[in-house]
């Protein structure tokens, strides 16, 4: 019976909380005390509310800078590591939480400041997430947009600056300093909830264990349009050309089931013989079994679930993390990316993924390799790790 603190500092939406809840539920059932420190308390109430696990606000930079970011150090400098005095102020606030909540184990999902604050403390850590937030133990860290040229000196300078800032704070607070930036994670045990094929850092990790994607929360049975056409599952956030795309899909011949949670209500009128809209979370086991391909703007978990079911995907990436997934999918030949988000480009890629046998074949080969996901035990592996670090 241990006190486990789950920390989420950076990012948005439910993409960090939902997996943490999947991990927390069985821990709580096993008698552990689980609490959360969250970037967004409103999201926490939506995801965790009523589960009897308390949540506290994360000390975080709530005014992140935008811009085209090429590397994890650049992401840090535009968010958590924006200024040394602010970082020190937030590290101290994390330390206050550790003192008051007295955790036996910290589970950090995209929470670099939480990790910095835990240095020098007798507090075992697990870093969890899909590959993007779990740095490989290397220096320098890689350029994540190799397709977009950037001056290597800029990336070096960013990594140097982030390291100096972390060490400035560590020095002033008497915490062990870092020799290189990725060392922030190197005393933590990784829990990599992805497939090697979707991990943009795959080539840089040594001896990494890939536990596979976490199971989704479940949902309603998919209602596909009737008829003989192929089945397309469309998932994600709205984007400017979505109305045109939906109009085109509504004319057939394929059958599309669209789940776009923030869809403008008037677009639902496009529903017809070839296009249905889902209003709630879908049963992904059924969706992946029945569909012929998926088209998605985001959702690492959705992409992984499709590939494990042997179904190819068309990725419409809108941010760096999804671009990396798109990149991995294309490299493995299991789908295509349509980063320009133009209607005709997307339609063309859907036709290719459905029509050319290679994409589905590659996806089926991957699925066979993992026995459709049956060989993966992400939650059980995580529980075993927790038991090892924090005791039963």
């Amino acid at each position: 019976m241990a006190r486990i603190l789950m920390a989420w500092e950076l990012g948005a939406g439910y993409g960090h909380l939902a997996p943490l809840l999947t991990l927390a539920r069985p821990l709580r059932q096993a008698g552990h005390h689980v609490a959360f420190v969250v970037r967004d308390v409103a999201a926490a109430e939506a995801v965790l509310g009523g589960n009897g696990m308390p949540y506290y606000p994360a000390p975080a930079n709530f005014q992140p800078r935008g811009g085209v970011l090429h590397s994890y150090p650049q992401i840090l400098l535009s968010t958590a590591f924006n200024a040394e005095d602010e970082l020190r102020a937030r590290v101290r606030a994390w330390q206050s939480l550790y003192t008051v909540l007295a955790p036996d184990l910290l589970v950090a999902d995209h929470a670099p400041t939480a990790l910095l604050a835990a240095r020098g403390r007798d507090l075992p850590c697990i870093v969890t997430g899909n590959g993007f937030v779990i740095l490989p133990d290397v220096a320098p860290l890689p350029d994540l947009r190799p397709w977009q040229p950037v001056d290597a000196k800029l990336l070096q300078a960013a990594e140097h600056k982030a390291l100096a800032m972390a060490n400035g704070v560590a020095g002033s607070l008497g915490l062990p300093k870092l020799e290189y930036l990725a060392q922030l994670l190197s005393s933590a045990a990784p829990a990599l909830f992805t497939l090697k094929e979707l991990d943009s850092y795959a080539d840089l990790r040594r001896g990494a264990e890939y536990w596979g994607p976490l199971p989704g929360p479940g949902g309603a049975a998919p209602r596909w349009p009737e008829g003989p056409g192929k089945r397309i599952f469309l998932y994600g956030q709205p984007f400017p050309t979505l109305p045109e795309l939906l109009r085109a899909l509504a004319t057939g011949p394929h059958r599309t089931l669209a789940y776009v949670p923030r869809l403008a209500p008037e677009l639902k009128q496009l529903a017809g013989p070839y296009l249905n809209f889902a209003d709630t979370l879908q049963d992904m086991a059924a969706v992946t079994r029945d569909c012929d391909c998926a088209v998605m703007t985001n959702g690492h978990g959705t992409a992984a679930a499709m590939l494990l079911a042997g179904k190819p995907v068309v990725v419409l990436p809108r941010h760096l993390e999804m671009m990396l997934i798109a990149h991995s999918v294309e490299r493995a030949g299991m789908g295509l990316a349509a980063p320009a988000l133009k209607r005709d480009g997307i339609l063309n890629k859907i036709e290719r993924v459905l029509g050319e046998a290679g994409f589905a074949e590659k996806a089926r080969t991957l699925a066979a390799q993992y026995a459709g996901g049956a060989s993966l035990k992400p939650v059980q592996n995580f529980q075993a790790l927790v038991t090892r670090l924090a005791g039963g």
């Binding site: 109430e45 939506a46 506290y56 994360a58 000390p59 602010e86 937030r90 008051v100």
Partner: protein, 395 residues
């Protein structure tokens, strides 16, 4: 020994933590424990010692709300735009505050501009004190007064905000508010201002303790020239260059602190013999004592320092809270406001303030009225009050 938790939810910069810091120190001297829950950790880092007074992140609405009320006409509008717009996310913040209260187990809660923190404390068996200038503590009336006399439709906005608060309270299992102002009910309401500077004129019963001491700053150093001494405490704004021209042309020795980000503007006046720019915040009490006129954005600290030293003010308010305060100073005859920030208006009012002795006379009246005000004693007085409350049984 008791654990006192000091909460700050709304507003920005150092003012709120600066106000509570000497109170916390007085409590520490008497052997109590003090923790802070703060909107901006940086303000705590700048002012507090983390070992003696640990701080925690306050839950607050960090994103702009989807359909803000613009302009805000009264405090309920401000509350709407800072998190009372939606009962579900409000409930999330109430839970987060409550979870912090449970973890910290306070014996006394102190609130500075923290309506959500106060709402979350409803129904808890813990003593509470609310403090601030007049702005953060609305009068206990329905509807709450408008920020200026022309405001209309106040009840409708307040009703919406009250309904959202009550929906969240119901989900929390707490009794609803009869009126919004009831969420500010506390064992003590302390106004760290002067009656004349209360944003809400004509409040019936206010416990006015005077402005708290302003911390530190460097000694004021005016250019060694004859003339009237002007002290300007400003941040960059569009027509600042025109105001600096006015200062320069007047020939009066002028000391200016601009905060950050006005390097270019400063460079333009680098050669002016009668202008001196300070790189660091200036000791307000000493600057007010030495100056003949103060120019500022109508912040409460600068205004109270000026009036207690008997000096008139040119006020350039940038927001509603500052405009309300500027109006109170004008009503007292101790200054002029130029809220449009128009070059001609600022220039003309600057000239009038220096030429017409009535403004200085009114400011001196202020200083004489409050010559026996002992703001140095506020922290000890507060600690004594806190101990009285702690000794009595919580409701």
């Amino acid at each position: 020994m008791a654990h006192v938790v000091m909460c700050w939810e709304l507003g920005a910069d150092l003012g709120h933590v600066a106000r509570m810091k000497p109170l916390a120190e007085a409590l520490l001297r008497r052997g109590h424990r003090v923790s802070f829950i703060v909107r901006e950790a940086l303000s705590a880092e700048r002012l507090l010692d983390a070992v003696r007074t640990p701080w925690f992140q306050a839950p607050y609405q960090s994103d702009a709300v989807p359909s803000p009320i613009v302009p805000t006409l009264s405090l309920p509008g401000v509350m709407h735009n800072t998190g009372f717009h939606d009962p579900r996310s409000l409930l999330a913040r109430l839970h987060a505050w409550r979870n912090l209260y449970t973890a910290l187990a306070p014996d006394l809660l102190v609130f500075d501009h923290s309506p959500t923190a106060m709402l979350a404390a409803r129904g808890l068996k813990v003593r509470r004190v609310v403090l601030g200038t007049g702005f953060g503590i609305p009068p206990a009336v329905y509807p709450m007064p408008g920020f200026d006399d022309s405001a209309t439709g106040l009840a409708a906005i307040e009703d919406r905000v009250t309904a959202n608060a009550n929906q969240a309270l119901r989900a929390l299992g707490e009794a609803p508010l009869a009126r919004l102002a009831d969420l500010y009910a506390a064992d003590a309401s302390l106004f760290f201002t002067l009656r004349e500077l209360d944003h809400y004129a004509g409040r019936d019963a206010g416990d006015y303790w005077g402005p708290t001491r302003q911390d530190g700053g460097v000694a004021p150093a005016w250019p060694a020239l004859p003339g009237r001494r002007v002290f300007a405490y400003l941040k960059p704004f569009k027509t600042l260059p025109a105001l600096l021209d006015t200062f320069q042309q007047s020939g009066h020795p002028t000391l200016i602190y601009l905060g950050k980000g006005a390097d270019e503007t400063r460079a333009r006046h680098a050669g002016a013999a009668n202008l001196s720019f300070s790189d660091k915040p200036v000791d307000l009490k000493r600057a007010a004592a030495d100056a003949d006129l103060l120019v500022c954005h109508s912040g409460h600290g600068t205004i109270s320092s000026a009036l207690l030293a008997g000096k008139p003010l040119l006020l350039l308010p940038l927001n509603m809270e500052q405009r309300m305060l500027a109006q109170r100073v004008e009503q007292a005859g101790a200054g002029l406001a130029a809220p449009a920030l128009a070059p001609e208006g600022m220039h003309a009012k600057f000239q009038r303030l220096l030429a017409e002795p009535a403004f200085t006379a009114a400011a001196r009246g202020f200083a004489e009225r409050y010559s026996r005000l002992e703001v140095e004693h506020i922290p000890e007085r507060f600690a004594a009050l806190a101990e009285r409350l702690l000794a009595s049984e919580a409701p």
